[in-house]
């Protein structure tokens, strides 16, 4: 059978309508994101962990500063310390990003979504753009708050940073940017894997497990991993002090973005090819 046709019967007396636009898809994705509870909780966890953990780490590190070695004092990076909490908070963003696609697959909503917007690339683009924008706003707010709270706790116990110091503004903004890149990555991973548990496990592996394993490897293996592992390279944007075997901030962030772009291209291709 080739070319079956379903034709509307009878005259069409309904009002004329406009073609659906990308803006419509964005509005729709925004409604989807704000109307599930997991969004509120994941963003709350991001903000609270990012700020509270950052404060605890800052206070602890500042009190330990006096007892630390000369080398430790040399590599003292109060900006990075105050932003450390965000490193853990990324997990909440990763989970939320993965869920906003894979929960559509697990619930069957994806079929409804793709009927509403059959241009599949548009669904993925709108979803990632909305989630990236939300993450950027929440990420920057968290990162600036964590920075100021951290510096306030460090001051008096150890050298602290000010927003005007060289590289500091870039690092604070960069923490939010790295989080945003991760948000896009997790949406793409959710699209590729479709299964929530698998996608979350994959993100945890990429963020924490694999870099952790690399630490146990011999130097010749560990150093290139530490240098080029996308999520770690991207994190360089949030530090001032550049440790050995790490990339400079912007090249590091570039590696992360390149990695995100590759996974995103795979997600885009698979979404268009696979049956929903």
């Amino acid at each position: 059978m080739t070319g079956a046709t379903i034709a509307p019967a009878g005259p069409d007396q309904r009002a004329a309508f406009h073609a659906a636009t990308f803006g419509d898809a964005l509005r729709s994705e925004w409604t989807k994101l704000r109307s599930v509870r997991s969004t509120f909780w994941a963003l709350t966890v991001t903000v609270v962990l990012g700020i509270a953990l950052g404060a605890v780490i800052s206070a602890a590190a500042a009190h330990g500063y006096a007892r630390s070695s000369a080398a430790g004092k040399l590599s003292w990076d109060p900006t990075a310390v105050s932003l450390d909490g965000i490193g853990i908070a990324t997990l909440a963003i990763a989970v939320l990003g993965v869920l906003c696609v894979s929960s559509e697959y697990s619930s069957g909503m994806i079929r409804t979504s793709l009927i509403a917007v059959p241009k599949r690339g548009r669904v993925l683009a709108a979803k990632s753009l909305v989630f990236a924008a939300v993450t950027f706003v929440v990420g920057e707010a968290t990162s600036f708050t964590a920075f100021f709270a951290g510096q306030a706790l460090i001051a008096g116990h150890a050298p602290h940073a000010a927003l005007g110091d060289p590289g500091v503004a870039r690092a604070v903004v960069g923490a939010g940017l790295a989080l945003t890149a991760l948000a896009v990555l997790s949406v793409a991973v959710g699209t590729v894997l479709r299964h929530p548990a698998a996608a979350i496990a994959c993100m945890i592996a990429v963020l924490f497990v694999l870099p952790g394993i690399a630490q146990a490897l011999p130097d010749s293996w560990r150093n290139p991993v530490t240098e080029f592992w996308p999520t770690q390279a991207g994190g360089q944007l949030a530090s001032i002090h550049q440790a050995a075997h790490t990339l400079a901030p912007w090249p590091g962030f570039g590696v992360m973005c390149l990695f995100v772009a590759i996974v995103y291209a795979i997600a885009w291709t698979l979404l268009n090819r696979r049956d929903a």
């Binding site: 059978m1 080739t2 070319g3 079956a4 046709t5 379903i6 034709a7 509307p8 019967a9 009878g10 005259p11 069409d12 309904r14 309508f17 406009h18 073609a19 659906a20 636009t21 419509d24 898809a25 509005r27 729709s28 994705e29 409604t31 989807k32 109307s35 599930v36 509870r37 997991s38 929960s103 559509e104 619930s107 069957g108 909503m109 994806i110 079929r111 409804t112 979504s113 793709l114 009927i115 509403a116 917007v117 059959p118 241009k119 049956d275 929903a276």
Partner: protein, 260 residues
């Protein structure tokens, strides 16, 4: 496949002359009810419909309108995971109606519904068709189709087996029989056989089923021989029987050892 969710191995489907994917505002032209729960359980009914409406640039007030049409106004702010099968089905139908489309595709719309729900869906589908819309319905429930459909497409093993009206389908593919009750059943049976009909014994000693003659012919035959009739009923095969007869050869998984 019509909606572009699954890719056909061969061929193409167009709706109003265009591939579904190329429709400028698909929900305005085609509404679809797929499996009942293609809904994120954590989302409120109203938000679910709102996000779908927004994706096609449909006004917000239409969401409240369709909630009213399907009778879900009262639970608009409840999350979909608490919905019964019937409520889920209503929500799916509300989504299909959002764009006020000329074509409405219903996939197994009455599965798992209670009698009230089934009646409601059936009436709604008839109304939508009466408004001049095209309403393709897929179902495995033959008795339901007999009550709902005007036109029938039978597909078996991926092939189109029949494309006809429901009445025509039943008439053409089944043998009519006449159910007769008579104190002289044995004699009528003999006369019938002489006239070339097939006669089977019925459920009692005075009951027979005659095929190959219509009820008028049986009546005349009885009168001609002076036989008394207590009951003379033309028996129309049900849609289900007609369907079984037609698809006998094209059923994919036939139960062995069951004779029909």
């Amino acid at each position: 496949m019509i909606l572009g969710l699954d890719a056909p191995t061969q061929g193409s489907v167009t709706v109003g002359g265009r591939r579904y994917r190329d429709l400028p505002a698909p929900m305005r032209e085609v509404g679809a009810l797929l499996e009942a729960k293609a809904v994120h359980g954590g989302r409120r009914a109203r938000d679910h419909l709102l996000c779908l409406a927004q994706s096609n640039g449909i006004a917000r007030r239409r969401v409240d309108e369709v909630l009213g049409i399907v009778g879900l106004e009262g639970v608009a702010r409840r999350r979909a995971k608490g919905f019964s099968v019937g409520m889920g089905q209503r929500l799916g139908i509300a989504a299909a109606l959002l764009g006020d489309p000329a074509v409405l595709i219903f996939d197994e719309p009455v599965n798992g519904l209670d009698p009230d729900g089934i009646h409601w869906v059936r009436t709604l589908m008839r109304e939508l068709a009466a408004e001049g819309r095209t309403v393709p319905v897929s179902s495995h429930l033959m008795s339901e189709m007999a009550l709902t459909a005007d036109h029938l497409l039978v597909i078996g093993k991926g092939r189109l087996i029949a494309d006809t009206s429901v009445d025509e389908f039943v008439r053409s593919s089944s043998q009519q029989s006449v159910h007769v009750r008579s104190p002289q059943a044995a004699e009528l049976a003999a006369r019938g056989r002489e006239a070339g009909a097939t006669v089977r014994a019925g459920t009692g000693p005075d009951v027979i089923d005659i095929t190959g003659m219509d009820s008028a012919e049986v009546g005349r035959l009885a009168a001609a021989h002076g036989l008394t009739l207590f009951e003379l009923t033309p028996v129309r095969a049900s849609l289900e029987e007609a369907f079984m007869e037609l698809t006998r050869d094209s059923v994919e998984y036939q139960a062995a050892g069951v004779t029909r």
